[in-house]
């Protein structure tokens, strides 16, 4: 790892001012992606601003129609939260299968979506549920947040504070993990919301997480696993690598969609 300067921020203002005075700083959430990247000398931030001590990023709350989760809440906390389990059980289930137990103890919701790894799980839920991302300066809708692989609409010094998920009637998530990395090779989050069915796919698309419009249409006509998995999925814009061709991923998207709907009930 290259040299770096570590700062622990006590508040959001403190964090942005630390970032402002850094040459080439990066925010540190749970560190589950950033630290391995730095270890492999693929990233060399001059400064790290640790967000782990900021109280504003903690907490899970629900008001009956919306579930709000602090950006600094770990995957293990989301998975184990009775609020999440009660409001959006699919989200708790999703969090319980991110990485491994040790990663879940450190990795955070905010870190995951800010990184927007094309094979991460959370982006599928955020997009499918039409969540709103609240930062230290504004609110961003999910549809405007993800801008392709590893890209988001966050500015360099912007910090995700929390994510608010409208509580759906029902929702399900099914993931087919990459056999080696265990990241999603195709992960489908299907939700039946007040705006109708919403389906988001992670792990498969060349541009990261995306909504599968044809499946949403099929599900609004008939909310059933068969309706979801019966939709033709084109392999054209899907990833292809040593673990799976785009054809195989297209198949997985259909199968996982059916299983997500089945899980939703």
């Amino acid at each position: 790892m290259y040299e770096t300067k570590y700062h622990k921020a006590g508040s959001l203002d403190n964090a942005t001012s630390l970032m402002g005075s850094a040459d080439d700083g990066k925010y540190l959430g749970g560190g589950m992606t950033l630290i391995p990247t730095m270890k492999q000398r693929l990233a060399a931030p001059s400064d790290l601003v640790d967000l782990g001590g900021i109280a504003d990023l903690q907490g899970i709350s629900t008001d009956g129609s919306t579930l709000t989760i602090g950006a600094g809440v770990t995957h293990a906390e989301v998975a184990g939260s009775s609020d999440v389990q009660g409001a959006i059980p699919a989200l708790a289930a999703l969090a319980s299968h991110i990485g491994d137990p040790h990663v879940r103890n450190c990795g955070t919701l905010g870190g995951s979506i800010a990184n927007n790894d094309p094979a991460a799980d959370y982006p599928a839920a955020v997009l499918a549920l039409g969540a709103t991302i609240k930062t230290n300066s504004r609110e961003i809708t999910a549809g405007d947040f993800f801008n392709g692989m590893f890209e988001t609409s966050l500015s360099d010094d912007e910090i995700i504070v929390s994510v608010s998920f409208p509580i759906p009637e029902k929702a399900g998530y099914a993931k087919f993990p990459n056999p080696a990395s265990r990241y999603a090779m195709a992960g489908v989050f299907a939700a039946s919301t007040s705006d109708g069915p919403r389906v988001a796919v992670t792990g498969a698309g060349q541009d990261g997480v995306y909504r599968e419009d044809a499946m949403e249409a099929a599900l609004s006509a008939d909310w059933s696993p068969a309706a979801a998995s019966g939709v033709d999925v084109s392999a054209d814009d899907l990833m292809s690598d040593i673990h799976g061709t785009s054809d195989y991923r297209a198949n997985l998207v259909k199968v996982m969609a059916g299983r997500a709907v089945e899980a939703a009930g």
Binding site: M1, Y2, Q40, R41, F176, P179, A180, S181, I242, H243, G244, T245, Y248, N251, L252, V255
Partner: protein, 786 residues
């Protein structure tokens, strides 16, 4: 006695490992420790035009930056292959030059070019990035088949067409004739996938030079420290043997990959002299993927002929083996004498001919990895038999039974003389344990849940304890393959065993002590096993090829014979009895049929007091032995795998895995079972998960656990293990060896099971979900079309 041969004794060595007090190489820090980092080739094939070390030398903490010209200039020799295999026309193998630090050309991604020594590891790594090397990139080739073709990039001037040797075994004309006259002929193509061994402890070395004594000490992750010292001394000219101490402390797994002396150990030793200090290097996992010798990587075609009664009349095999960019230590023996000699499997085959062509490519060297040649042989023969049964419409069990060797000894046409075995015994035990006959009902039940069940078997035989030395010498081996032991009895009766074997997970500290317990009735806590240090232990050959039981323990048994004989002489003298009447048991030395008895410790003390010894006897009680086996040993077994495939995704679950092995006499069943479990996991890894893949430019695509799929707990079932026993007649303990069987026998059973489930026999390893899904769909599409 409960701790003797056959006892399920928990391990003496465990306490330090479960409490965090193991002592692996990287745990050790020498005084004024400095750290090495290597500058490695980013190209698969290139000419080195220039190396600029100045900027790196000027960086903070940097002690020296050294390159290959300096290394060869100091007389450090090229890395050698220790087994000479000639082509069938008599031409010697074409060994290209391999310098520990490349001087003129780099031939694979990761080839070491420069060593940087600095005060800290980070400083060394940063300085390594500052070394400027100007390369002229050359075209690369990674596939052995392509490397042989006209116009392929050429790696070594010594090896035209990249061919190292073109070797054969068996008689070709009679084999061709037998197959031509066969009633049924089955042909098949095979790819044996390339693997990365991945012991969890990465390789590591600490080289320390003492200028006053002109003496070197090397701590290293080695399976055979004495062999390492011999090679470092005799071939690489690092230091004379008596000025070089090699210590392999706790080693975290090897699986073959830690047999070899790698460039890094040589360079660290040399750099310790150049910098007059102690130089430490520890591989990270990416370096391990790039530079640890890989395993397997064969492409073969085979043809088998049967008579009208389905008896095999001939087998013909043609194999191309990828040896990577340079010839590693045993790379020539692995695809020849450890592979083609096992192609007869458990079957009586009168005619076998195999041709093996070995090839250079721009990939990391390939050498022995758990099983080493035998997994490739068993995969070929067991897939071929299964496929033949399917094509000929006969039960795979019956086809095997019809052709089993049933009389021993049995001379195969490919060197091996099987000494003993009972193939029907483990076949029927395994079929019973796996409920082979009940599969139809289980298939139907799975189908009702939308799943595809399949079952497959493999009847493997392998060869361990490679020997005798004179025979392997005549086949080209550069070493003898005996083992040494010394049994040192202390005056108080406790015992130290010094062994040339090396334990890196096999539990020698326990099983070797069990031999003493069995012999004298002493508790194993009174026995200390010492290994892995050339200053402490007499020359020995180390641990690989499942040899520590059959060869290493036999050497101990022979040394124990001598100790026992001398102790009996002393006891007979002290008790005024006939030597032949002395019995040693339960820690006591008795005169049979009388009440005369001495404590074991009393006899030992008498040996050292020397006040009252038989006339002319030397004092002391310490004996050594070198054991050179008369033959290989031949473990065999039947493995049955049952799988369930999800047709929608191709995901395959192993629902049951049954392994029944004949390992001869078993010293500690708990440890033997553990060896089988681990071997099975690596075999399942090969069959379903693992694949080291280079792209066409020679970049390794699977250089981390993000892309190289290691078996994890949820990939595997709990295993059903059983044993049958025919004692090995060629060694004093009757042991056959158990370290590699799991990895040898399992891959064909798994692929036989999956292909049974999906109804398509065309499936290569690793059978990933994608491949299984595609093969299943190809089969169902074909079925629909018909």
């Amino acid at each position: 006695m409960s701790e003797g041969i056959g006892a399920r004794v928990t391990r003496k060595e465990d306490k330090r490992f479960i409490t965090g007090h193991g002592r692996y190489t990287d745990d050790i820090v020498e005084q004024n420790q400095t750290y090495a980092a290597f500058v490695r080739s980013p190209h698969a094939h290139a000419e080195i035009l220039s190396i600029d070390r100045d900027a790196a030398k000027a960086m903070p903490g940097v002690i020296d930056v050294l390159d290959g010209k300096q290394l060869t200039g100091d007389g450090i020799g090229n890395i050698i292959c220790g087994w000479t295999v000639n082509s069938k026309d008599g031409t010697p193998m074409a060994m290209g030059a391999w310098s520990a630090l490349a001087t003129q050309y780099v031939r694979y991604v990761g080839d070491a070019v420069v060593i940087v020594v600095a005060e800290t590891q980070d400083q060394a790594r940063e300085a390594a990035e500052a070394v400027v090397i100007d390369y002229k990139e050359l075209p690369a080739v990674v596939s052995a088949v392509e490397a042989l073709q006209d116009g392929a990039p050429q790696l070594h001037p010594e090896a035209p067409n990249n061919q190292i040797f073109d070797w054969e075994i068996g008689d070709e004309a009679p084999t061709d004739e037998a197959i031509a006259g066969a009633a049924h002929v089955v042909e098949m193509d095979f790819t044996n996938n390339r693997l990365s061994p991945n012991p969890m402890e990465p390789r590591s070395a600490i080289a320390t030079y003492n200028a006053i004594e002109e003496h070197y000490t090397l701590y290293t992750t080695s399976q055979n420290p004495h062999v390492a010292r011999l090679i470092l001394s005799a071939f690489y000219q690092v230091a004379p043997e008596h000025k070089l101490r090699v210590i392999a402390p706790d080693v975290g797994g090897g699986f073959g990959s830690k047999i070899y002396v790698y460039p890094e150990e040589i360079a660290c030793l040399w750099a310790s002299m150049k910098t007059n200090g102690s130089v430490k290097w520890t591989s990270d996992r990416t370096e391990a993927f790039l530079t640890d010798a890989h395993g397997r990587d064969h492409v073969s075609t085979a043809k088998i002929g049967f008579d009208k009664d389905y008896k095999i009349v001939g087998l013909k095999v043609d194999t191309i083996a990828n040896l990577g960019a340079y010839m590693s230590l045993f790379s020539s023996a692995t695809p020849t004498y450890l592979y083609a000699t096992l192609l007869s499997g458990q079957y009586n085959i009168a005619n076998i001919h195999a041709n093996v062509c070995t090839v250079y490519t721009n990939t990391v060297p390939v050498d022995a990895y758990r099983g080493a040649g035998r997994p490739e042989a068993s995969f070929l023969i067991e897939r071929l038999i299964e496929t033949s049964a399917r094509q000929l419409g006969i039960s795979p069990v019956e086809l095997r039974r019809k052709n089993f060797v049933t009389e021993f000894p049995h001379q195969t046409p490919v060197i091996m003389a099987y000494d003993t075995g009972d193939f029907e015994a483990h076949l029927s035990d395994a079929m019973k344990a796996a409920d082979w006959d009940g599969i139809a009902a289980r298939k139907a039940e799975a189908e009702s849940r939308g799943k595809l069940r399949g079952i497959g078997m493999s009847c493997y035989i392998e060869a361990c304890g490679i020997a005798p030395s004179a025979a392997v010498g005549s086949l080209g081996a550069g070493v003898g393959l005996w083992e040494s032991a010394e049994v040192r009895v202390n005056p108080v009766g406790t015992i130290e065993i010094l062994t040339g074997s090396h334990s890196h997970g096999q539990g020698h500290e326990t099983t070797f002590a069990q031999l003493v317990c069995d012999r004298f009735g002493l508790p194993i806590d009174n026995v200390q096993v010492i290994h892995g240090d050339t200053d402490k232990v007499q020359f020995g050959m180390g641990t690989y090829g499942s040899r520590s039981g059959a060869v290493g323990m036999s050497a101990i048994a022979k040394a124990l014979d001598k100790v026992e004989a001398k102790a009996k002489k002393i006891a007979a003298h002290l008790m005024e009895a006939d030597e032949g009447d002395i019995v040693i048991e339960n820690g006591e030395v008795k005169v049979a049929g009388t009440d005369k008895v001495l404590g074991w410790h009393e006899v030992c003390l008498a040996a050292y007091m020397a006040h009252n010894l038989p006339e002319g006897m030397e004092p002391g009680l310490k004996e050594g032995a070198f054991y050179d086996p008369a033959n290989f040993t031949f473990p065999s077994g039947t493995y049955i795998c049952e799988v369930e495939v999800d047709p929608e995704t191709g995901t395959t679950d192993i629902v049951q895995f049954t392994a029944v092995d004949d390992f001869g006499v078993i010293i500690n069943p708990m440890i033997v079972e553990g060896q089988v479990h681990g071997g099975l996991a690596q075999g399942i890894g090969q069959a379903m998960l693992e694949h080291a893949i280079y792209d066409d430019n020679g970049q390794l695509l699977t250089a981390s656990y993000m892309d190289y799929c290691m078996p994890r707990a949820d990939n595997l079932p709990s295993f059903t293990i059983g044993h049958t026993t025919t004692a090995c007649p060629s060694n004093p303990l009757g042991i056959k060896g158990c370290g590699e069987a799991g990895a040898i026998g399992s891959p064909p059973a798994i692929i036989n099971a999956i292909t049974d489930a999906i109804g398509n026999n065309n499936l290569s390893m690793p059978a990933t979900p994608q491949k299984v899904w595609a093969a299943y769909n190809a089969a169902s599409t074909k079925q629909a079309a018909e």
